[in-house]
Symmetry: C2
Subunit: 314 residues, 2 copies
């Protein structure tokens, strides 16, 4: 979750601002604010005040666990947007294709990419397909629901959140696609559209490279453990590839959550994006209140939209 907290000089001040409830802040505001922004609930306030119906658990059939030595990266897959690629990635996970592979590239302000470091002797496939058609866009009707943002966007005629994923749409063409925001996961490919198959995946670890939208298949989003990828040492060769003498961060395994015993699963839930609560969270980010904020943007860029994730209550 992107947590747009204020940047204060003192940690104590930051914590006070972040943890205070709105009524508590109200009194402070009258005395302190230099500008006239009204005090409003923050995204964190709205998360705190939400009801259980505002959340949905991750679907174990569309959740991947990538186990790294430092912990677990949880990826929510988006089959609506890439049915064939997601199906192949699930086959790859089920045949344990990724086990023992590694992160091969970490380029600052761009991506971490993982797969088979041994290009001369690629690991053979068992059940998965060697080539899968690129699913750079899909018909709008394929996607369950879409919460359109009123915001204008430079990269798409329309943007919004589709069942928890940031997405663009072209209503005239009847097509939609996932946007390359921080944490989104895509399928590496060579020049031909169908040259990817999920054996090489990447996650965005920098400012959204939205020029990749509609150019490559996006299959999901990291919902937990993102720091395990974003803090990896950057590779020292061109484009952030690790050189032959650099450590390639190992992947212990990748499993579909449904294949993992219940006791070993992560129990995460994501905020539903088709609710009034969610609209309030987006609005809290679009027009942030005082007293720390002096100016409210009146706009929220697609990749700054909050997508809250939390542990399920026991």
């Amino acid at each position: 979750m992107h947590t747009p907290f204020p940047i204060t000089v003192r940690r104590a001040a930051a914590l006070a601002l972040a943890l205070a409830t709105v009524p508590a802040l109200a009194a402070k505001t009258k005395a302190d604010a230099d500008a006239g922004l009204p005090v409003k609930p923050t995204v964190a306030d709205i998360v705190k005040a939400s009801s259980p119906a505002d959340w949905r658990p991750l679907d174990p059939d569309n959740t991947l666990y990538m186990e790294l030595p430092g912990g677990r990266v949880v990826i929510e897959l988006a089959p609506d947007f890439a049915p064939q690629n997601v199906a192949n990635i699930k086959l790859l996970a089920r045949e344990h294709y990724y086990d023992g592979q590694s992160v091969v590239r970490s380029q600052d302000n761009y991506v971490a990419q993982w797969g088979d470091a041994d290009e001369a002797h690629p690991k053979p496939l068992k059940t998965a397909r060697d080539k899968v058609p690129g699913e750079f866009t899909v018909p709008i009707k394929n996607v369950r629901h879409f919460t359109a943002l009123p915001e204008r966007d430079g990269y798409a005629p329309q943007v919004g959140i589709a069942h928890g994923f940031p997405a663009g749409r072209d209503p005239k063409a009847g097509r939609t696609w996932l946007a390359h925001c921080y944490g989104m996961v895509g399928v590496g490919r060579d020049v031909e559209n169908d040259s990817g198959n999920g054996t090489s995946l990447y996650a965005v670890t920098g400012h959204a490279p939205r020029h990749l939208d509609r150019n490559i298949t996006v299959v999901g989003r990291v919902v937990s453990g993102m720091a395990l990828l974003s803090t990896l040492p950057r590779g020292h060769e061109a484009m952030g590839f690790y050189g032959a003498n650099e450590v390639h961060p190992p992947i212990t395994s990748v499993r579909l959550a449904a294949d993992v015993p219940e006791a070993e699963r992560s129990h995460l839930e994501v905020m539903r994006t088709d609710t009034a609560t969610y609209q309030a969270a987006v609005e809290a980010q679009r027009n942030r209140g005082g007293p720390w904020n002096k100016y409210a943007a009146g706009y929220v860029e697609l990749c700054n939209v909050p997508l809250p994730v939390r542990e399920q209550a026991k």
Copy 2:
């Protein structure tokens, strides 16, 4: 420099695409391309073909070296945009204020922030001021030059590059400000506008938090060594602060380049942003060519604009 290279399955393919010259790619395109995008020079091609006059060295009087155990972070200061805050930061550097301080916060997809970890016993100031007015925006006339982008932006009436820095402008109000893109450096503050003084600084390490624009003073940009900040372990307390028992990454020293012996300086140059060459680099990012790219965005978001940096030729 943001290097928007293709994400290929195979490293060899990525290198071939990145290193090929345009003529060499042209033949390949005819056979391989699925889409009809013309082959065009990339940003890297334009950097390679540039002339010495397309570059300017960093000004030692407005360049900071932050020395970390892992290497040097080079920050170009922007006195046009924050004259009083930049002046105070230079005083702080000259009185060795930052030496022995530490990074106190690393929040994923947001910022790394450094300063005095001991809030109970803050390090005393010698020559620097305790409070400096916030310089959230400045008069447009204060800024030497501005290369406007034709792109519409959600956070500002107008955007462009001001002498190497991404900036927003409000021509009606006659004000301009630096944008919170990846790598930009700002001044932490508490609630009051004048509560920052440069003793607490931060760099953006995630997707651009543009909602901070016009809310806080931005003083410059990391032009080299960004990975030393972006790969720091994330802090485990609220907002990415390091806990009492977590390592606070130490800062060896911060010096103004002008105060460092010539032999120990970094000799970097940045591409001038008021030239035809620079316009060509922006256009290469706005409308990327084939054969890997299948769709050209026709748009470049402010924080995806290339800002090339390189070692000076000997």
